[in-house]
């Protein structure tokens, strides 16, 4: 029996839900077909009236999407050049600000290579899933770069990294073992992200996107709990260098694997006569052990070069010196 109810407009949500349930149930038993109707047309209205066209705004043009990938590639090239060749901390900071502005506040943090792990994983397993080419490029380019020169993406290109870099005012050294232990968390996160991303389409959940602590700053809006989380990360990031990058970033885990094979990269040449260790103290990310760069943890910040008293003329003669890293 359908409820012949007048449309009421002051219902509380709970009552509305109950009403909806009963009405929906009754509506299902009597399928409601669209009755005959005919809206007045131009001819009938007359007076020179023309029906306005319904607007259909287009999404971001594919050229702009390709531009994003090009900017990503260029920024990584500049980053590796600035760190490996120029070794200029100031310039790298400028690049970080630029990347934060472009990939962070302009593109609002999306598409990012960190999240693209999920897209690629789904695309490899679900035949019905369509992955745009720019997402594929966003995933693979930093990895290819890492196989050659290490984590150029992390240094000055990744917007999440850049925002943490810029708040790092008083870096404290995290004890080695704790640092390494916490670093395993990123593989746990990677596993979880893959587990939820590889579920069937209806249950699929993109954790990396949902729990990105900094994206709400980029969007300038967000639920309070995520803004709080982001603020907590930034607060911690003032003293502990780049906590998300070192302990949680799943893409950082992939980059670390690729960096193991890199032929070039940040190099600390040990010199028995000059074991000053200033670089080890300067590195906030624990990427220098026993005077040697642990490339897979190096986040391309160039603080070691900035702290090195040798930097300058002799630095360019690096190739001639012993290379033990």
């Amino acid at each position: 029996m359908g409820g012949g109810l007048k449309p009421a407009r002051g219902f509380s949500p709970a009552a509305a839900l109950l009403l909806l349930a009963t009405v929906a149930a009754s509506a299902q038993s009597l399928p409601y077909q669209r009755p005959v109707d005919e809206a007045p047309q131009e001819k009938s209205i007359g007076g020179g009236y023309k029906t306005p066209a319904v607007q259909k705004p287009l999404p971001r043009s594919s050229w702009l999407q390709i531009l994003d990938v090009a900017v990503l590639a260029a920024a990584m090239g500049i980053s590796s050049w600035l760190v490996l060749k120029r070794r200029s901390r100031k310039s790298l900071a400028a690049l970080a600000i630029g990347s934060l502005a472009y990939f962070g506040f302009y593109r609002e943090g999306c598409i990012c290579p960190i999240g693209s792990i999920q897209n690629v994983a789904v695309a490899l397993t679900d035949p019905h899933y369509s992955i745009p080419m720019v997402v594929t490029a966003t995933f693979f380019l930093p990895l290819v770069m890492a196989v050659f020169v290490g984590r150029a993406f992390c240094g000055g290109v990744c917007a999440l990294g850049a925002i943490q870099e810029l708040v790092l005012v008083k870096p404290l050294q995290v004890p080695r073992r704790l640092d390494r232990a916490l670093g395993l968390l990123k593989y746990v996160y990677l596993g979880l992200a893959l587990f939820f991303a590889l579920k069937p389409a209806v249950a699929r959940d993109f954790l990396i996107c949902r729990f990105d602590p900094f994206v709400d700053f980029f969007r300038r809006t967000g639920p309070p709990h995520m803004l709080l989380l982001g603020s907590a990360f930034l607060l911690a990031g003032m003293f502990i260098g780049r906590p998300y990058c070192r302990y949680l970033c799943p893409y950082g885990g992939l980059l670390a694997w690729c960096t193991r094979l890199a032929r070039r990269g940040v190099t600390i040449t040990p010199d028995k006569e000059l074991d000053c260790g200033l670089c080890t103290d300067a590195c906030p990310y624990g990427a220098i052990e026993k005077m040697r760069a642990v490339r897979r943890n190096c986040l391309y910040c160039a603080r070691c070069y900035a702290a090195c008293p040798r930097d300058g003329d002799l630095a360019h003669a690096k190739a001639q010196l012993v290379n033990l890293s």
């Binding site: 009405v23 009755p35 109707d37 005919e38």
Partner: protein, 273 residues
């Protein structure tokens, strides 16, 4: 005045007295038989509500009316099919002036009136089917305001046509020549005497009073010729999604309303208080 429900005729189904697809129009003849249009089918019920006859039409029917001689006129798209009381097709009228759906048929002075919902006007034909004049087009909009897709009217004993103009929330009075005499009704969102929503009243029937049905808050009401609300016949019994409910009145003042979702005809009887 007060009305009570006395019967429910029809219902959704495939049986002899049930409707399977739609219930677009109902009509009552002087003998009290009830005619109901179910898509391409006309079903005839007697006064007691028992199904008597049923026949098919060639096209979906949008309106049904019974002339004084017992002929059954069915309004379809751009044509009117006329059957005798046994259900045999006698004539088909096609006319260029019929722009689309004929959603109401009435009779005045031997002429046949067809409500053209697409053309937003009432067309008047003589008994042979020749077009005579339009009713309702003598205004800057060249017609009535019919956003809901159904143009309905009734003819009273004096030959005055009472047409529902839902876009203006009125029932307008016209002479058969097309002259506007006046109107009753006004818009009001909460007052039961007013017509609510965007387009109400949707359907109208006239005998000694004006009977209207509305949608979106479906209800049936009766007004006198001065425009005063006499009674709300029924409000809560119809399915909330009803639209364009057909209404008919017999000589005893019983009101028949066709619920377009439940596909049933509700019968109400006036009860003196």
């Amino acid at each position: 005045m007060h009305y009570r429900q006395v019967a429910v005729i029809g219902g959704k189904g495939a049986g002899p007295g049930q409707f399977s697809a739609s219930l677009r129009s109902i009509a009552v003849d002087p003998a009290g038989n009830l005619y109901a249009a179910n898509d391409s089918q006309i079903t005839v019920f007697d006064e007691a509500g028992r199904p008597r006859r049923r026949w098919s039409t060639s096209q979906p029917v949008h309106s049904v009316a019974v002339a004084g001689d017992g002929a059954v006129y069915t309004g379809q798209i751009r044509q009117i099919e006329i059957f005798d009381r046994a259900g045999k097709l006698v004539r088909t009228w096609r006319d260029d002036t019929l722009a689309g759906r004929v959603t109401a048929i009435g009779f005045v002075d031997g002429d046949v009136l067809a409500g053209d919902a697409t053309g937003r006007a009432i067309r008047r034909f003589d008994s042979n089917g020749r077009f005579r004049n339009n009713i309702g087009t003598d205004n800057p909009l060249n017609g009535l305001l019919i956003p809901n897709g159904v143009l309905d009217f009734g003819v009273d004993a004096h030959g005055i046509i009472h047409a529902a103009n839902p876009g203006k929330h009125r029932v307008e009075r016209y002479t058969p020549a097309g002259e506007l005499l006046g109107h009753i009704g006004r818009f009001h969102g909460t007052d039961p005497a007013g017509f609510g929503g965007c387009c109400n009243p949707t359907n109208v029937a006239v005998r000694d009073r004006i009977y209207v049905t509305e949608k979106a808050g479906p209800r049936a009401k009766v007004y006198n010729f001065s425009g005063e609300l006499e009674a709300v016949i029924a409000a809560g019994v119809f399915n909330a999604n009803c639209k364009n409910m057909s209404v008919a009145v017999d000589r005893r003042g019983r009101v028949y309303v066709g619920d377009t979702v439940k596909l049933a005809i509700f019968v109400f009887e006036p009860v003196a208080i």
